[in-house]
Amino acid sequence: MSLVLDHIGYRRGDEALIADVSLELARGSMNVLLGPTLAGKTTLMRLMAGLDRPTSGRLIEDGTDVTGVPVKDRSVAMVYQQFVNYPTLSVYENIASPLRVQRLPRSEIEARVARAAKLMRLEPMLQRTPGQLSGGQQQRTALARALVKQARLVLLDEPLANLDYKLREELREELPRLFAETGAILVYATTEPTEALLLRGRTATLWQGRITQLGPTAQVYREPESLDAARVFSDPPLNELALRKSGTEMMLAGGRVIPAVGALSGLPDGEFRLGFRSDAVTLGDAGGDRLGFPGVVAVTEISGSESFVHVDVGAGTWVCLVEGLHGYEPGDRAEARLDLSRAFVFAADGRRVSADAPAPALRQSVPA
């Protein structure tokens, strides 16, 4: 089975919530919708499911036009960010509910529920009600219900967002595998770039109701085609630097002038914007031909083994990645050192222009 979105649009009043989205989702594929809150992920999923009818475009399932066919006549399972379960039913009955609707024989229901409960590690809790479960167990119940249904289209709308991060780590590994076995088309909405990378498959970056880029996840990450796509696929947020090139010089925002080097030398004259992730800029001596920007530390965020230092360099505040745990304090002076070869160059209209530049090289980092 395949699902094709053919120029799907959805307007409410004067507002275009989804604009001209075309996608082709193959059987057994993992498809990630990556975008910030309110980018249109949930709206798009509701259109795919048939919960809402698109105001333009067609939805085609295995060659059949299913635009406007209501969700109950389609084979769809959906899991939400909130833990949605029937509060008065036991976990067993919660998982079995879609099968009861399908009027499957009792033995079949028992077998399928038992299998799903085993995969989701819910076996000891089958007789409890959702109120007696932890958040993670509640969400696993909702996931098990989606799993037993063996729907052809499975929509997961930020299913792990409300869980502790440790539980998130575990479920994130298991989920794609569990659903892949059913051969369903899997669509997974998330706001987190790291989650998209771990899920692999294909990623569509979504921004203001439009798909800004679509492709294999790692490729979209490494080669964003536009400023919008790069911003959506960066966490911590993308660092940016506006510049104007004229001849062999470049005037940076803030007034500094540097010679146009490397990939930048090939650019025509005009306004550009550099975008680079936190790992392209570090503090202190990192070796290599890096460009230094003196600045003041705003804050240091520490995630386990890495420190993300926010540095105000005058032309804006950048997030710099420093390996290890470092106690840069607010107000400290520091020099952000940018690896230009790993910066993306965008034209004034936001499109990526450094097509001739070498692919961002993975460098051997040299400890200080």
């Binding site: 509701r46 919960l51 809402d52 209501p70 909130q82």
Partner: protein, 296 residues
């Protein structure tokens, strides 16, 4: 997040209700409208009277106009008094109801008792209660030397009717407020304690604002209830002494069923209905408007 799908067939489910409303309200009401524009000489002969009945009713110099105006003033006075007593009292009672423990159930059942008693029985209870010969209240007040007599003294009649309404309906306000209070998250009270707020401040800045929506409903319900009151005062005072407790409803029944003055009564009832609706509508739109303005 709204996850319901839209299906026009849902309207089919509304059809039985529409039919019921049609036969229970719309058709009888159209009969009344019909009467209000016609006059009769008996023998089922009706002729067109235009706005005559309405002009009559709204002209305070006519006999009907006077009756109507008097009853209307009494109605507003009664509703205002009832609300002014029941709403604050209801809030006060709700604040005293325990929040947890076995006492909750007991207290709620006790408070709800007056609501479970039929209207005419409420009237009868208070009729007996206020009698100066055998009624506990009547005898007691008489013994204190107060000139208390429901059948002869207008003040006594009003006193007992207002008291009866407060007794009957404060429970409802209290229960509504209690539900509203229970919905306030604990964090608000904890924050207030930490902020050093006193009891009055907690009430003024947390409880009262959070009860706002509930209170609007309570006031609407109690206004409609008190404005359309009939059974209890009819049982206790029959509208007397004189016209002292003749409310619109009592007067209307007298006119329609006692005097069979159908044209006047029809116009009377329509205007009565219209006033009730208008007051509720104005009150409701005003409060929701204030809500929206604040939210913007």
């Amino acid at each position: 997040m709204d996850t319901r799908s839209f299906d026009n067939r849902a309207w089919l489910f509304v059809v039985p209700v529409l039919l019921f409303v049609l036969f229970s309200s719309l058709i009888p009401m159209m009969t009344v409208v019909n009467y209000s524009f016609q006059d009769t000489m008996g023998q089922n002969n009706f002729f067109w009277n235009g706005a005559g009945w309405f002009q009559n009713l709204l002209n305070p110099t006519t006999e009907v106009g006077q009756r109507f105006q008097g009853a209307l003033v009494r109605n507003f006075a009664f509703s205002f008094t009832a609300l002014a007593l029941e709403i604050p009292l209801g809030i006060a009672v709700s604040l005293c109801i325990p929040k947890s423990g076995w006492q909750v159930g007991a207290v709620l059942v006790l408070i709800a008792l007056p609501l479970l008693i039929p209207y005419n029985v409420v009237g009868t209870i208070w009729l007996l209660f206020s009698r100066t010969d055998i009624g506990l209240l009547g005898v007691f007040l008489g013994a204190l030397g107060l000139p208390f007599n429901v059948t002869q003294n207008a003040g006594s009649a009003w006193f007992i009717i207002v008291l009866m309404d407060v007794w009957h309906w404060t429970s409802m306000v209290a229960l509504l407020c209690y539900a509203g209070l229970k919905a306030i998250p604990d964090a608000y009270y904890q924050a207030a304690r930490i902020d050093g707020a006193n009891r009055w401040s907690v009430f003024r800045n947390i409880e009262l604002p959070k009860l706002r929506k509930v209170l609007i409903i309570a006031m609407l319900l109690r206004f409609m209830g008190s404005f359309m009151i009939y059974t209890e005062p009819f049982t206790v005072t029959g509208g007397g002494p004189g016209e002292a407790t003749s409310f619109l409803s009592i007067d209307l029944v007298k006119m329609a069923l006692g005097q069979v003055d159908l044209g006047n009564a029809a116009a009377y009832s329509l205007v009565y209905n219209l006033i009730t609706l208008t007051v509720c509508w104005v009150f409701f739109t005003y409060t929701t408007h204030v809500d929206q303005r604040d939210a913007a």
